[in-house]
């Protein structure tokens, strides 16, 4: 069958979804979804619970047959060529899709054999991936004894056995603690560095920003926004700097100083006297530095400061003007308070404000 058309400007698409519809009775889980994932990139699919993320992944991995529309993965149609398609994909679900009664090694060996590797290759690949995912010590223990993070890593390892061209990660870090989440992120970045194309669903803006090159925001089965992360950030705002001056009475003066210097971002600074803090939208590291520098130069005493990313709910509010149906499901605030040191950040390219 024909491969996907190569678009010289953007590179070929590994995943092409057009008008995908999936109904469950009256519920429209997918209501005409279009999206593309370019080869070798990560597309983040951001949406609240029930937005249709998992249904999308299940359609793209041939677990569900869509009611209408088309989807091609590595050039193969999900409905017409499911067998070939299954050879090119790896799937890591929200719930660990490994056999918990089996040991980590047995799980990986079994998948190797199911992917037609020889006994010898299956053994070697199992050993290699357990090593890579730091599971060698627990290799012979049943997966029931694994921690949540270990299980998720085993799940990722299982998806990597066949060196899939396209990897689906369905909320890979939901329910994980921050340290484990970072481990999973590191592994995903390694896979991408090795050339995998990834479709990642997530409820967390921070995760999407950290891993994805492009973002598609879906709600109630429909795409409501999409594009490069920096484009979306310009629309919804990037990080927010939260400054707590030593004295709350300094708030108006600080806001004025930043506005005069043109450092208050697109949406403007916002003083929250009740909490004694000033919120400054930040679009670049340069702007961040300049804001802090200006306030210091003016002699304002700062008691506390930190940056945080908009929550999914805030993103939705910015895009759609309404909150998500399950605003209480937004990630906990401490998951969003990020010390950004030591993390690569390829999305802070928008320097126009500070310039």
């Amino acid at each position: 069958m024909t491969r996907t058309d190569n678009n010289p400007q953007h590179g070929p698409n590994a995943v092409e979804v057009r008008g995908l519809v999936k109904h469950f009775g009256e519920t429209k889980a997918l209501d005409g979804v279009d999206l593309d994932v370019r080869e070798g990139t990560v597309l983040g699919v951001l949406g609240p619970n029930g937005a249709g993320k998992t249904t999308l992944v299940r359609c793209l991995s041939t677990l569900l047959v869509p009611d209408a529309g088309t989807a091609r993965v590595a050039g193969y149609d999900v409905v017409r060529q499911p067998r070939q398609l299954r050879r090119t994909i790896g799937l890591t679900g929200q719930y660990a899709s490994v056999d918990e009664k089996l040991s980590g090694w047995e799980n990986l060996y079994m998948i190797g054999r199911l992917l037609d590797l020889s006994r010898k290759d299956s053994r070697a690949r199992a050993d290699e991936l357990l090593e890579r995912f730091s599971l060698t010590e627990a290799a012979r223990k049943p997966a029931t004894t694994y921690s949540g993070g270990m299980r998720r890593r085993l799940d990722l390892a299982a998806s990597m056995i066949g060196r899939p061209a396209v990897l689906y990660l369905d909320e890979p870090t939901t329910g994980l603690d921050p340290r484990t989440r970072n481990e999973v992120w590191d592994e995903v970045q390694r896979m991408v560095a090795e050339g995998a194309t990834v479709l990642l669903t997530t409820q967390y803006m921070e995760e999407a920003e950290h891993l994805a090159h492009e973002l598609t925001v879906i709600d109630r089965g429909q795409v409501i926004a999409g594009g490069r992360i920096d484009e979306l950030k310009a629309r919804v705002g990037g990080r927010t700097l939260r400054i707590r001056p030593a004295s709350a009475s300094d708030l108006p003066g600080m806001a004025r100083a930043l506005a005069e210097a043109g450092l208050d971002g697109i949406a403007g600074t916002q003083a929250v006297p009740d909490e004694g803090v000033l919120l400054v939208p930040i679009l670049s590291d340069e702007q961040l530095t300049a804001v802090v520098g200006l306030l210091a130069a003016r002699g304002y005493a700062i008691a506390d400061l930190g940056t945080y990313l908009p929550s999914l709910d805030e993103v939705f509010l910015a895009i759609t003007g309404h909150r998500t149906a399950d605003a209480q499901d937004a990630p906990p605030a401490d998951g969003q308070q990020t010390g950004r040191a030591g993390r690569t950040d390829r999305t802070d390219q928008n320097t126009e404000v500070a310039a």
């Binding site: 069958m1 209408a68 088309t70 409905v79 017409r80 299954r86 660990a96 899709s97 998948i111 199911l114």
Partner: protein, 285 residues
Amino acid sequence: MSTATTSKPAAAAAAAAPAGTGPLPGEGRIGLRGNLRHISALARRNVMQLKADPQSMFDVVFMPIVFALLFVFVFGGAISGNGNQDAYVNYVIPGLMAMMGLNVAMGVGVGVNDDFKKGVMDRFRSMPIARSSVLLAKIVVELGRTLIAITILLGVGFLLGLSIETSFTDLLLAIGLSAVFGASLMWIFILLGLTLQNAQAVQGVAMMVLMPLQFGSSIFAPPSTMPGWLQSFTDYNPLSQLADAARGLINGGPVAHAVWVTLAWSLAITVVTMPLAVRKFRQKT
């Protein structure tokens, strides 16, 4: 199963290259050797699960012992009429061979119901393997468990005085026939396990079907003492045919009719329920 039949995203659907529904026939098929390899890898998984949970072997180890002792010592004297349990041993043990397959098959339904709720099934179903291989692997391992149960049953039988009046080959034929019929029953219970909501429901339905089939048969007592309406039921009950066939193969006597009827039942059950079970597994979400 249809694509592009809804009118809504007509423009998008029109962009679809291959029109029509369902997978293209023949493309990417998996050969016999590949299938056998997949089935053996999946059967290995099922064996590993049993190893990880040795209690799951209790049924095939203790069920034949308990049933053999119970029926021979508690009912044996009464059923044979003159307190002669030895004669009853050769009557009931071949009959119980038929029951072993039935009981293992019932467990399959419960196990499938539990197993197929797990995330690992999503992985299997998104992999380039025939989806039927997951079910066939289960059957292979459960057949092994059936054979263990029958072997233990025969062992207890010999201790209780079972004697083979025919040949070793006939004994093997009796075992084989019990296994073949048991395998066909497993498809029914796999179908049940995939259809019903939870393991309790599977167990409930299984008991409802099993009790009359087991006791309304020639397994435990000769139907000649039963009322006429029950006799006609037992005559048509495939378990009676299997029990009679096994009895004939072990004790001698005419067996051809019972053997052929049992094989016909096994084939009919498999032909009907196996495609339904595979279909159900394929479509399960």
